[in-house]
Amino acid sequence: MAETIAKKPEAKEREPLFGPKEKKLLTDPLNDNNPITVQVLGICSALAVTTLVYPSVIMSIAVVFVTAFSSLFTSLLRKSIPKQVRMIVQLVIIATLVTIVEQVLKALNFEVYKQLSVFIGLIITNCIVMGRLEAFSMANRPWRSFLDGIGNGLGYGAILIIVAVLRELFGKGSLFAGSPLAIQIIGPSSDYILDTSAISWLGWYQNNNLMVLSGAAMFIIGVLIWVHRTWNPKLVDVS
């Protein structure tokens, strides 16, 4: 008995690999600290690439990869990075990972690569990535930095996909266009699941062209911020 009691505190000292703190690193950016709706970072690409769901999903995966691994590598190097050049070193790490993503995507799915065009390259300038490196990875252990990177990438991706679903559904009437999962949902012809021309009281329905333009993304993100704050009142006092 005495032995087991003595062992317990020792076991407690070792930090668990995935405890409540680590879980919070993943979930916080999805809600309380969302990079887009709370910190309003990464708006440029969120406006530009969200016309279709499929490229947005690919973009989200790319950003998760870049935030996760740039956080990991920065954290691994954090003690040896000279203070005077730390920003440029972070930038080199980010740029390397983005170039890797770009090269791999070009080899795996050329059509999506063409669609995303410059926006993959522009992940380098996405404030979320560098913001996390400066604010978190430079001061934290690799594993936690890695989780923080994944969390923030997911927080960005979640908003991206919500916006893209709304824009594609109301702008084009389809979902996942361009991928093997493509479905035509709502529109005025028999190609769509919900054929509005066949239902008399829906005959007025047309796909909204505004949704395809970047302006619509701005409105949607604005409304999302509003909804998010109403639903989570503690955000209202944050800024």
Binding site: P82, K83, I88, Q103, K106, F110
Partner: protein
Amino acid sequence: MHNTRQIVAFVAVLTIVVALVLSLLATGLKPIHDRNEAIYNKKAILSAIESNLDAKASDLSDEQVQQIFSEKIEQVVVDMQGNVIEGTLAEDIDMAKERKKPEAERKLPVYIYDGPNGKFYIVAVRGSGLWDEIWGSIALESDFSTIAGAAFDHVAETPGLGAEIKDNPKFHEQFVGKELYDDKGNYVSVDVKKGGIKNPEHEVDAISGATITSDGVSEMLYRGIKYYEPYFEKIKN
């Protein structure tokens, strides 16, 4: 604290490691990139004759695309006088570079598709849209006047407006059956017209809200297909 020498050493090592990783990756993936790009361009050409293929061009597998190109398509390069230039393939012609040359020196790619419905001549045209270049592949029937299909692409036209020339199948479907020559044999090309078609043989409906891209398509077709006139004349005789 770090002194200058340490900083320089750190940055130098980092740069060398990164450069090594990226150059290895780029060299390793280069053949796949080139292959993907070639297939992407070939699919764009095939989408002009989509109605004569078994499947939509975008649904074709890479192998099917290569197979159609090796079995049913003859690639020809012609000069502005209509002479066939031997020893070059149409797919090696870079239209963006050709467009920068003086008109008389340009080379023109022709893809001749020999299928069950006869021969189709697919020609390449290139022009300017609103923001950047636009281009297209136009398939002609063997009378060199009737359009059998068209496909367009662009660098940076506005999504939902100018980009509809590529994204909206209803736009390029309109071109099927249009005539380049009028009843008297004069070259009139096909006009992308705003506000209703008056002459259904030579006009298609423009995309609303995309006047400059639509005008760009009209101009590109008029000028681009005319370049091929000497070649068509030679085949006819």
